[in-house]
């Protein structure tokens, strides 16, 4: 009878045995594609045209996951559902699906990775991080000097001068997230097995982390290492704490300086205040997923920098989704709490804290690491032994497939940013003589546009104002 039930033919052991190596290779390839394959490409997040392929790969992995009857844990699935619905209902879908598609890419890792993958994933990351370190050296000594001769933009030149490393990732902060994850994983391995080759990736990546000069990742890594060491051995823990504090502090002061750090902290503060002000004005359901980007110029504090996100997951969620955002945060908290007994909990905690203080949550190249280890940290389930069709597995498949379609569309169609769309609309209104609509669109543009990036919009608006008020 069991053979006639839906899904039953897929439970044949032979089928799973054949599929297993393919599934594992695809998982690692999917991660590598997100993080960037050194010497071949950057991360798909940097190389945007590659994203549809990564997305197709994620889709394939979801289908394979379904064959293994894998399912999403409730709090994480609920958080994803909230974000998906918020994207569907948001006023500027382009902005929302930019984030949803990015989140989808990384979130898939939760479904596809399971406890059995840890044995392969951690060594893979150790090897991968070493390759990345070589690539950074290659970048520093070969690629950047040649690029420096071509680039004129001061911001790009500052990066290229190699002040802060970032490997295949888009920014040093993102690379530092990756390094933090690897350093903590290596340290956890070292605490288990002292005589191990993991010393090498631990030291190399630790050094690379310092060289990225990323304050948040360095502090979080240090704190977690101290906590893990204290749990193992008090003397070791206090020793690391003392040495790390003095040496690390000195290193940061010498490399970044108090002025740079102070300015960075002021910018963060200003971003947070702006996000909270948006939340105050839109407390019910926020402005829309990823709409902080659009509304920030309106709420920007005097002297603050121009940014595209709030640089903190809680504030971004509150500004974007209001009460729904708080619910998503609570769900993420609940999800993390459900993993408290896992040995990977300190790692997940550190990564989540990084999300809290920097907005790496929507950067699939590294957020995938969080979701992959969250999948690994879950209780082991006998996926292959279960008979019949599992309803949670079907629900998970349905949810992810529903989100796949608009995400894929976003990456393939690549619709214009709302500001560009508004510019086009304003032009059309003017051509048609619909001057009231022209005024309203120009007013919005004037509010939403970054005055530093497009000062001409402000000037145009002031000129039109005279025409409208005749």
């Amino acid at each position: 009878m069991a053979g006639k039930r839906m899904g039953a033919p897929l439970q044949a052991p032979l089928f799973f045995e054949i599929l297993k190596p393919l599934f594992i290779s695809l998982k690692l390839f999917y991660l590598a594609l997100l993080m960037g394959i050194p010497f071949v490409t950057g991360s798909v997040y940097v190389q945007h045209p590659l994203a549809p392929y990564a997305l197709l790969l994620a889709g394939l992995l979801i289908l394979l996951g379904f064959l293994y009857q894998k399912r999403l844990p409730f709090p994480a699935a609920a958080a994803f559902l909230f974000l998906f619905v918020a994207a569907l209902l948001s006023p500027e879908k382009t902005l929302s699906f930019e984030y949803l598609a990015a989140f989808f890419l990384s979130f898939t890792a939760l479904l596809v990775f399971d406890p059995a993958d840890e044995k392969l994933l951690t060594p893979f990351l150790a090897f991968y991080s070493l390759t990345m370190a070589c690539y950074v050296a290659f970048q520093y000594y070969v690629v950047y000097p040649s690029l420096l001769a071509q680039v004129t933009d001061p911001a790009q030149r500052a990066i290229l001068r190699g002040m802060r490393f970032f490997g295949t990732f888009a920014l040093p902060n993102i690379y530092s997230f990756f390094l933090m994850a690897v350093v903590l994983l290596m340290f956890m391995r070292l605490l288990k097995e002292k005589k191990s080759l993991y010393w090498i990736p631990f030291l190399v990546n630790g050094t690379m982390l310092l060289l990225t000069r990323s304050f948040i990742a360095a502090v979080l890594t240090f704190l977690m290492i101290v906590i893990l060491a204290l749990k193992k051995n008090k003397i070791l823990g206090w020793g690391i704490a003392g040495a790390g504090l003095s040496l690390g502090g000195l290193f940061f002061l010498l490399t970044r300086g108090t002025e740079s750090l102070g300015q960075s902290l002021f910018f963060r503060y200003a971003n947070y205040v702006s996000a909270l002000r948006i939340f105050r004005d839109y407390p019910l359901a926020g402005t829309g997923l990823n709409h902080f980007d659009l509304y920030y110029p309106l709420y920007r504090l005097e002297g603050a920098n121009y940014v595209h996100n709030a640089h903190a997951l809680p504030f971004q969620m509150m500004a974007d989704l209001g009460g729904i955002g708080i619910a998503v945060l609570l769900l993420l908290g609940l999800f993390l709490w459900s993993l408290r007994k896992s040995p990977f909990f300190p790692l997940l905690m550190a990564l989540m804290l990084h999300f809290v203080f920097d907005l790496t949550f929507y950067i699939p190249s590294v957020a995938a690491l969080f979701w992959a280890y969250a999948g690994i940290a879950q209780k082991k389930r006998e996926y292959t032994r279960k008979k019949g069709l599992s309803l949670p597995a079907l629900a998970s498949l349905f949810l992810l497939c529903a989100a796949f379609i608009p995400s894929f569309r976003y990456y393939t169609v690549n619709p214009p940013h709302p500001v560009r769309r508004m510019e086009k609309e304003a032009r059309l209104h003017r051509e048609r003589g619909a001057l009231y609509s022209h005024f309203i669109t120009m007013y919005k543009l004037n509010q939403f546009v970054d005055a530093k990036e497009k000062p001409q919009i402000r000037e145009q608006y002031e000129e039109y104002k005279k025409i409208w008020n005749q």
Binding site: G323, Y436, N469
Partner: protein, 586 residues
């Protein structure tokens, strides 16, 4: 404490709070409307287990079906969300199992207190038909009727003297309300009494009937002086017409307020026909048919029947059902909750029965809905306070403050059209704000509010008024052609939703005056004066605009007729406004 131990904390506290709520505008006060469901939600988490009957599932299905239907058909507004949340709260109340004695005594005590308040109001104001702490006298009458019934037939621990005194006092309170619904309830009670007491109680039944007739006679003599009270027939006629348009699925939850006025044929007064528009169907059954159609009403009826079958308070619940024939008693949150309470008490005290399903509640399961619902109610409360502050500032002519408060209220809860309208109203009269900011804000507030309240004609009318203000302003000439087209679109939308509103019609006329569409202008004028023949502004505008001498003479004559109306005539505010005795209406 003993009761709490036996029946559970919420089984005692929730009914207690419901009794207290009747003293806060019959449950209409924000402290009840927003905080009571919140309290219920907290209790849900406190309880380890609660038992649901099949009727609960049917009722919850009905709630979600109606909610989704309303949202999908684009009819949703703030009250649609409240309908769902309060409906769920009612479902929760029906899971309670308070003691019969507690409920009976509580009902009698609160009814006595309401009677005391009514007597005080009567002495203080020197007139009958007082409402106690309810919004209207009918609701007070229904509450006291329930108390009277409980005192007469359900009160065990009392001697005949005490029962007689209490019943007499309650009857006195009942009399002060002078409610026609009360008369019907008395009539019904006397029938129950006649059936229960048989030949023994002929005198008592006769006394009760006599009392009912006296009540009716007094109210009737009052109604002769005030013909407006006889407009209920017209309301039912409007509801009937509205129902026939969508008999199967209805219009959606909480939409009747917006749509019923469109079907109203007016009331006959000396100088006006539309000084009042019905905001409700004045019958629970009609309201249900209009909102949920035959399909929804049958599901709701089936759910209620399921509760009713196991209720130990059937007669009291029937009394409420009877009161609902000619009244929207469901608009009083306290009466609605009281009805739910009547359904909770089983014939015998048994927490678990056949066909019941026990559910365990844990923080892990419950925290998300609890957070979302409590967050929504907190915002509602906050928005309400800002709205009140906005109204206060508007009355005191602190226009900037008024705008700030209204705008904050609207921002907190964009679903509330009143806050949006208030914000625009105050914004338009503030001079300190730059014109471009003012126009863009008005446009943003009104267009998003109209998008969220697609069945509310007043929002579209407000949009039209805003565009008219723009057209009326000096400068901004290049913007005016499109603003005019938008204004016409808005006013047409308002008229499509509420076609017989003279103010909307006049706005259309005023907007047409900016064009060369003579024919349309005249047609609107005639439509308007067929609705309200004494609309002074319509004649004045036509006089200014038309070149037709005959029409000008006609308008002059009508204005003269209006001018000759003595100011001493008994006119209501609306009449004074359309006649131009009280400043302009528009």
């Amino acid at each position: 404490m003993k009761s709490i131990r036996r029946f559970g904390t919420s089984d005692i506290i929730i009914p207690l709070v419901i009794f207290v709520s009747s003293f806060l505008n019959g449950g209409e006060h924000y402290a009840v409307k927003y905080l009571l469901p919140l309290m219920g939600i907290i209790f849900i988490l406190k309880e380890k287990k609660f038992v649901l009957q099949r009727s609960h599932f049917v009722f919850i299905f009905f709630l979600f079906f109606s909610f989704v239907f309303t949202v999908l058909t684009g009819m949703a507004n703030t009250d649609t969300v409240n309908f769902l949340l309060w409906g769920l709260f009612l479902a929760y109340v029906t899971t309670k199992a308070p003691s019969k004695a507690f409920l009976t005594q509580g009902l009698i005590v609160t009814s006595l207190l309401h009677t005391g308040i009514l007597i005080f109001q009567w002495i203080e104001r020197g007139a009958l038909r007082q409402p106690s702490t309810f919004v209207n006298a009918n609701w007070a009458a229904v509450w006291i009727a329930a108390g009277l019934y409980a005192a007469l037939f359900m009160w065990d621990a009392s001697g005949p003297r005490l029962r007689g005194t209490v019943s007499f006092l309650l009857a006195a309170g009942f009399f002060i309300t002078l409610s026609r619904t009360g008369f019907l309830l008395l009539f019904m009670m006397s029938l129950i009494m006649a059936r229960r007491l048989g030949k023994r109680g002929r005198k008592a039944v006769l006394l009760l009937l006599l009392f009912a007739v006296l009540l009716f006679a007094l109210r009737f003599s009052r109604d002769v002086k005030d013909p407006v009270a006889f407009s209920r027939g017209k309301i039912y006629d409007a509801a009937g017409k509205m129902f026939l348009q969508r008999p199967v699925l209805g219009y959606g939850a909480a939409v009747v307020d917006d749509r019923l006025p469109h079907y109203f044929s007016g009331e006959e007064r000396t100088y006006s026909r539309y000084s009042l528009f019905p905001r409700m169907a004045h019958s629970v059954y009609l309201e249900s048919l209009l909102s949920f159609g035959l399909f929804g009403t049958l599901i709701l009826g089936y759910a209620i029947y399921g509760f009713y079958k196991r209720s130990g308070y059937r007669a009291l619940f029937l009394l409420l059902l009877f009161a609902g024939i000619f009244n929207n008693i469901e608009k009083s949150f306290s009466l609605l909750l009281l009805g739910a309470l009547f359904l909770t008490v089983p014939t015998t005290f048994k927490r678990e029965e056949k066909e019941s399903y026990a559910f365990a509640v844990t923080w892990k399961k419950g925290f998300l809905p609890v957070f979302l619902i409590s967050y929504y109610f907190m915002l509602t409360l906050l928005s309400h306070f800002f709205f009140l502050a906005g109204e206060k500032a508007m009355t005191e002519r602190r226009l900037m403050d008024s705008f700030r408060y209204y705008y904050r209220s609207y921002r907190i809860l964009p679903l509330n059209p009143l806050a949006a309208e208030g914000a625009v109203r105050s914004l338009l009269v503030i001079d300190q704000i730059q014109w471009d900011v003012k126009l863009a804000l008005c446009e943003e507030i009104l267009s998003s509010s109209a998008a969220l309240n697609r069945q509310n004609p007043k929002i579209f009318w407000s949009q039209g008024v805003y565009y008219q203000a723009l057209l009326h302003s000096t400068g901004l000439t290049p913007l005016k052609p499109e603003a005019h087209a938008r204004a016409m679109q808005s006013v047409e939308q308002a008229l499509a939703l509420h076609g017989n509103n003279p103010r909307y019609m006049f706005l259309k006329m005023a907007l047409l005056a900016y064009t060369t569409e003579e024919e349309a202008f005249e047609k609107t004028f005639y439509d308007l004066i067929s609705l309200e023949p004494y609309y002074r502004n319509a004649y004045e505008l036509m006089m200014q605009r038309t070149s037709n001498e005959e029409l000008k003479n006609f308008c002059t004559q009508r204005i003269e007729v209006i001018n000759n109306i003595p100011h001493s005539e008994p006119l209501n505010t609306y009449e004074k406004n359309i006649l131009g005795f009280n400043g302009s209406l528009d």
